[in-house]
């Protein structure tokens, strides 16, 4: 699972959960994989992500130094920033670990890169 995917996930469908966002991350195995970077694509992606949530995820993974805590104003033309953003969104992969509901602590396991978000009937 890449961090762009984490950026979209919520546990709000759990009974009693109000926001359920962002999910916390626990990592067991992580992989860095090289992916071709395309600046046009990144510029199209930026308006669709929650930047503070991405930054917090990077912090959790111990990579706070690899991304500025705030999106620079000139992000569309700041190539150095876009490359860092590309790395954060697409090159870091969580292979095994857990996602956690921020309100209830309910764990959603990630195995082999695939998060399992299914709930039992009595949880919804």
């Amino acid at each position: 699972m890449k961090l762009l995917t984490h950026n979209m996930l919520t546990s709000k469908c759990l009974k009693g959960v109000l926001v359920g966002y962002p999910l916390k991350i626990e990592v067991q195995d992580l992989r860095i994989c090289e992916v071709n970077c395309n600046l046009d694509f990144l510029i199209r992606v930026i308006p669709r992500i929650d930047y503070p949530v991405l930054y917090t995820a990077m912090e959790t993974l111990g990579y706070a130094n690899d991304l500025p805590s705030e999106k620079p104003e000139d992000y569309q033309t700041n190539e150095e920033f876009l490359k860092k953003l590309h790395h954060a969104l697409f090159e870091i992969e969580i292979i095994n670990g857990n996602l956690l509901c921020p309100e209830t602590g309910r764990k959603f396991p990630i195995n082999d890169g695939i998060p399992n978000m299914l709930l039992n009937e009595d949880e919804t």
């Binding site: 979209m8 966002y21 071709n36």
Partner: protein, 213 residues
């Protein structure tokens, strides 16, 4: 569109949907719009109920020729998730995969430019959709074959981007005209873009877009 290589083992076939006429019609429907994609560069693409992963992989392979995009595939069936991963790897595309019930864990943000769903559409007893056998979940649609897709429809307006397109495969018994009317209430207009009669089934692909004011 190029057809991806898909290989399902006997064991996988026990629970994962084997690519069939409906899968291919959906790929043909996407192909009709490839000119539009080339011009509009879809950024984030989503398929619900990926099964073997054939449809989203075909889309990823086609888009790769002219733009960068992100692909997310969901399925309630863990085996389908694994097979989709294998299918995407075999065909050298990158697809993110999550085991999920419909769109239950996706944030309500209008970020997806393409959403695809080939739902369990076969008309069955209402209770059949609660059968836990995973292979039944590939086809059992309950009353009018609509029970699973009807649960998804209200979520679409919250996820589709302003220029986003939703592709839905249905059969005649699902009452496509009624589905088109239902979406009008969400300010989303749709039409039939392709249909095919095969033995025992009349398949349609509906395409929906938001009405821009």
């Amino acid at each position: 569109m190029e057809t991806p290589l898909v290989h399902l083992t006997e064991i996988e076939l026990e629970s994962v949907y084997e690519p069939s006429e409906d899968s291919f019609l959906l790929i043909d429907a996407l192909e009709l719009d490839s000119g539009y994609f080339e011009y509009n560069n879809p950024t984030l693409c989503l398929e619900i109920g990926v099964g073997s992963g054939i449809v989203i992989t075909a889309l990823a392979m086609a888009l790769k020729k002219f733009c960068y995009s992100y692909f997310l595939g969901l399925d309630i069936n863990p085996h389908a998730c694994k097979v989709t991963k294998k299918t995407s790897d075999t065909n050298n595309v990158n697809i993110e995969i999550i085991q999920m019930d419909l769109l239950n864990n996706i944030q309500n943000k209008n970020i997806f430019d393409i959403i695809i769903f080939n739902p369990p559409y076969v008309v069955t007893e209402a209770l059949e959709i609660f059968d836990n056998k995973l292979i039944n979940k590939t086809w059992a649609g309950g009353y009018k074959g609509r029970q699973v897709m009807d649960k998804l429809f209200p979520m679409i307006p919250h996820l589709l981007s302003a220029k986003g397109i939703f592709y839905l495969l249905v059969i005649k018994e699902n009452e496509p005209t009624n589905i088109l009317q239902l979406f009008e209430k969400f300010n989303i207009i749709g039409s039939i873009i392709i249909e095919r009669k095969i033995q025992g089934e009349h398949l349609f692909v509906l395409r929906f877009k938001k009405v821009i004011h």
